[in-house]
């Protein structure tokens, strides 16, 4: 069983239209009108402006209780009402990656409540986390969210909250793409 790999390509055509793209911290990505999300091996797509790859790997921080809570309430991707999406690629500092596991966990959850606050937004917001750092990619994570238009405000609240946390002090690059299903 191999690890699922996904490619997010900024392109001139695609299955998601870019409604907004903001560079939150660090270098921007080149503006594109569309985003393509593909799985499997990287295909050469002539109309691609940039490509970001990530794998859906094992969970790095959740404990048993949190894993069970998430499993019970997390929705699948691709629900018909979820015509809104967000791709937020994130890179953390070397200081973060050189921390031992217990200190990273403490910052992420005990200080920042990343998991427990995130749990409040399921099942409204569907998500999938892609790990990119070990692939030598420019970002460490590609975070992907899907939700219905009535949950745009809730999603905004979630990302605004996360950006105020202790964990976010370790973020050195973040781009925020908002998308509409074509």
């Amino acid at each position: 069983m191999s690890i699922p790999i996904y490619t997010f390509s900024g392109a001139l055509a695609g299955n998601w239209r870019v409604a907004q793209m903001d560079s939150i911290l660090g270098p921007a990505l080149e503006p594109v009108p569309f985003l393509n999300v593909t799985s499997g091996t990287l295909t050469s797509e002539s109309k691609t402006v940039w490509s970001l790859r990530g794998v859906v790997s094992h969970e790095r921080y959740v404990n048993r209780t949190e894993k069970n809570l998430l499993a019970a309430s997390s929705p699948v991707l691709g629900r018909s009402q979820d015509v809104c999406a967000a791709l937020i690629p994130i890179k953390k500092s070397e200081a973060w990656w050189s921390l031992p596991q217990d200190e990273r966990r403490a910052i992420l959850e005990e200080q920042s409540q990343h998991i427990s606050v995130g749990l409040k937004y399921v099942p409204a917001i569907a998500r999938r986390l892609h790990h990119s750092r070990d692939l030598g990619e420019p970002f460490d994570f590609l975070t992907w969210f899907e939700f219905a238009p009535e949950h745009i405000k809730a999603f905004e609240e979630l990302v605004t909250y996360l950006r105020t946390t202790a964990e976010w002090k370790y973020v050195v690059r973040e781009v925020d793409l908002r998308l509409r299903r074509v």
Copy 2:
């Protein structure tokens, strides 16, 4: 700063001579007379029989105390007296990877003492862990060890111990290559 990637290639010539190769569990690797260890991007090496890739990523389990102990006593690779080496590629089961972080940590250290027993063997045995699972490789880890001939017995003791642990019940494939520097 990008993640260092290493390639271990079984080949007809190379910088390490294969002294012994045992398939401990699961499918064997094709027998080869030499092993090449290269860093950076994968080069096409015409004499290569097989290639395994892994990245030196952040630590997944150590806490602050363990990290500091390891940092204080871990030797560098390439010491002139370390003419012996071992490459032990390991694959763990899906059951392992679907465990939450706290349960994997408890099996690895609290039940199996992987870190604390390993600490007894530094600085005699130098090591580097390479992560492969997220790269879609056939093994999850490529564990690499270097030591002087007088520590062969100690190394044997360490791997024999690890194979008796609760953690090792999750190992589904393991090959053990012993090498001599050419």
